[in-house]
């Protein structure tokens, strides 16, 4: 399927999965991963799959209600935008199973399972790479909007960089405007602003605008970081690494557990669980297309840092908790 709905597997069994997104999937690589995971899970357990895309908080609630009426095996909601709805709806429908990916309703019901990620840990590792690789000691992030959640990609990135090189300064710029999540032109000119002021590494957290970031660094000789998935191929030679978040893996695992009858609970995926990471840590880094492959000494430092975080020697501050 192309992300616009439809069934991924023949609805032969009576199992079914409904995934609800908070926004149209469109350019959002994070949501695309969620869809990918849910589709994969549906295939594995032989369930049918449906995607409900929401547009705003009201339509989220509508989609959840519509999903409840359809009585699927599990209803998956992605992101903190479901916190409010999943506070109440699961309690009203105790026989229905729910899964929230990437956040958890405060008042968690027994039939609500949660999966969340420590993307700040991955962003910290990317920051270490940036700190080690920057020559101008100026780095930046181009993010879609200034929301607390987005800071998970900004603050730890800069923290990681300064942890290896004290003099590095980091500047975040936000795309904003009328269509912040899908304005590559504005993202590009934000990136140009950063590179124009000397930044030689820019991390992209601009959703649909990322491609604009990559184009800008390519033109100015700077380097970028991608996000969520391996984006190195979309601008070969210009992307150092990616802040990975294996939403698909986590989603598949969580759905399978529910299908097997293990309900509720919270599962947090950090570096330790392999739920987040950077391509530098992957086995196939050499073929990833990411330029980090050319800097084995940096990869070594990143691995060390990963081990330290897993071991608890380094604690990465979570901007959302700060």
């Amino acid at each position: 399927a192309d992300g616009s709905g439809g069934s991924a597997a023949p609805a032969s069994s009576d199992k079914s999965i409904i995934l609800i997104t908070p926004n149209p999937v469109g350019t959002n690589s994070f949501l695309q991963l969620g869809v990918k995971g849910a589709e994969a899970a549906a295939k594995e357990i032989g369930a049918s799959f449906k995607l409900y895309e929401s547009k705003d908080p009201t339509s989220i609630a509508q989609n959840v209600d519509a999903a409840v009426r359809a009585k699927p095996t599990v209803i998956v909601g992605i992101s903190f935008s479901f916190d409010d709805v999943f506070n109440t709806v699961p309690k009203q429908h105790p026989e229905q199973q729910f899964l929230q990916v990437d956040s958890c309703a405060k008042d968690q019901a027994a039939n609500l399972a949660c999966v969340s990620f420590k993307e700040h840990e991955a962003a910290y590792l990317a920051g270490i790479e940036a700190g080690l690789l920057t020559k101008s000691d100026k780095i930046g992030v181009v993010a879609a909007i200034d929301s607390p959640f987005v800071h998970r990609w900004i603050d730890p990135f800069f923290a990681g960089a300064t942890s290896v090189k004290a003099g590095v300064t980091g500047t975040p710029l936000y795309v904003g405007g009328n269509n912040p999540f899908s304005d590559p032109a504005r993202a590009k000119s934000q990136t140009q602003t950063l590179t124009g002021r000397g930044a030689d590494i820019v991390s992209a957290a601009a959703s649909g605008g990322n491609q604009g970031v990559f184009e800008a660094v390519a033109a100015s000789g700077a380097k970028a970081f991608g996000v969520d998935v391996n984006q190195c191929a979309s601008s070969a030679g210009n992307i150092i690494d990616n802040v990975l978040k294996h939403v698909d893996v986590a989603t598949v695992a969580a759905i399978k557990e529910i299908a097997e009858g293990k309900n509720g609970g919270v599962k947090v995926y950090g570096l330790a669980e392999g739920g987040v990471g950077v391509n530098a840590l992957e086995d196939d880094v050499a073929s990833s297309g990411c330029t980090i492959a050319d800097s084995p000494e940096v990869i070594a430092k990143v691995k060390q840092a990963r081990d330290d975080i897993v071991a608890g020697k380094i604690t990465v501050a979570d901007p959302l908790k700060g």
């Binding site: 547009k55 705003d56 209600d65 929301s147």
Partner: protein
């Protein structure tokens, strides 16, 4: 008109209801047929029919089965408990339609509904969060304050229009974005909830939640409130001196001024009145589920623009505004149902809406021109 003898009142042909000839009318059967014909050939029916034909062609071209898609569209808007969502979208859209239509009667274009709505919403949220509330009236105060705030934001455009001659269509548009950004700033920082991913206020106290009707938290007193206000506007527009003066100002400012109408004050009154509706809509959204101001949630559904389209569709007939709003709302909410059920991308509803608007506009003019030509009487 060939001069009738002085003193002979001209026969009042155009005033006959429905334009039926008065003397020796047709048989009841013929009359029913006539009515049926008139309804079938009426602008909205023709336009919607035309748009449906075109949309069906689009569907067929891209391999969507219309016999699945259309029922899904209707069910998505009206059946399976979806009606409450349609109502939940109808209320703010109608409110925003009034926000645009009221100043429009005085020929002022209010395109800044988003900003007025956002400021209204954030005002309501701030008051609900920070003022100790007596149960019962707790919901009234934020509503009133939001209307006031929205009215003030829109009212800013009035002196710019009357003193500096900058058209309201420009200033409302220019003020809107900063107003939305300001509200966004407030919920991100001073009013923001800590420890959450999105910029939003904490949940508002229960006492300030809009009382629900008919057991659905989506159908709130917002519905009767907006319905009442709409009726009040329709009445004021056609049956009060104020409405008359507003219309006269819209038709010819100089004429109204000459007739003793305080045109500048009226411009301010209508703009602020429109803004008040936008502010009220902001409050209705914030005080309804999920009972907080979520950044972007007010503007994301595009109520303002749908409302503008609906008012323009209604082509200067106030009574048609609620119907045009209902039509567009059904299409929008139904479109999501269609996407869920039949897997038809919801962009298709945007296509249908766009087509309907274009076709209605064309039909309306053609009829208008024909009517004018016919009304040489």
């Amino acid at each position: 008109m060939t001069t009738p003898a002085p003193g002979t009142p001209a026969p009042d042909t155009t005033a006959a209801p429905g334009g039926e000839p008065r003397d020796g009318g047709p048989s009841p059967g013929a009359r029913v047929l006539g009515w049926a014909r008139r309804i079938v050939l009426s602008t909205p029916v023709l336009a919607i029919g035309g748009a449906l034909v075109l949309t069906t062609l689009v569907m067929l071209a891209v391999g969507v089965d219309p016999s699945l898609a259309y029922p899904a569209l209707l069910r998505g808007a009206l059946a399976d408990g979806n009606l409450e969502y349609t109502i939940a979208a109808f209320v703010p859209t109608l409110g925003m339609a009034l926000a645009f239509a009221i100043p429009l009667r005085a020929c002022e274009f209010n395109l800044g509904g988003d900003g007025q709505m956002a400021i209204g919403g954030v005002t309501a949220a701030a008051i609900a969060l920070h003022l100790p509330m007596v149960a019962g009236v707790a919901v009234v105060l934020p509503l009133a304050a939001a209307a006031l705030a929205g009215g003030l934001v829109a009212g800013l455009s009035a002196p710019l229009r009357t003193r500096l001659g900058i058209p309201a269509i420009v200033t409302t548009l220019l003020i809107s974005t900063p107003a939305v950004a300001f509200a966004s700033y407030l919920v991100r920082f001073p009013l923001g909830e800590q420890g959450t991913g999105i910029a939003q206020t904490p949940p508002l106290p229960d006492a300030t939640h809009l009382p629900a009707l008919a057991g659905s938290s989506y159908v709130t007193i917002g519905l009767p409130l907006i319905a009442l206000l709409t009726v009040a506007w329709l009445y004021a527009d056609s049956r009060t001196v104020l409405g008359y003066e507003i219309r006269a100002t819209g038709q010819n400012r100089d004429f109204a001024r000459y007739g003793g109408v305080a045109v500048n004050r009226l411009a301010a009154v209508t703009l602020a009145g429109g803004g008040a509706f936008a502010g009220l809509v902001g409050a209705l959204i914030v005080l309804g589920p999920p009972y907080r101001y979520v950044d972007g949630a007010l503007t994301a559904p595009g109520y303002t623009f749908t409302a503008v389209a609906a008012v323009l569709l209604a082509t200067a007939r106030p009574i048609a505004v609620p119907f045009a709003v209902a039509l567009l709302t059904v299409l929008q909410v139904g479109g999501q149902g269609m996407e869920r059920e039949a897997g038809v991308p919801s962009q298709l509803t945007q296509i249908v809406q766009g087509l309907i608007i274009v076709i209605v506009a064309v039909f309306a003019t053609v009829r208008h021109l024909r009517a004018r030509r016919g009304a040489g009487a």
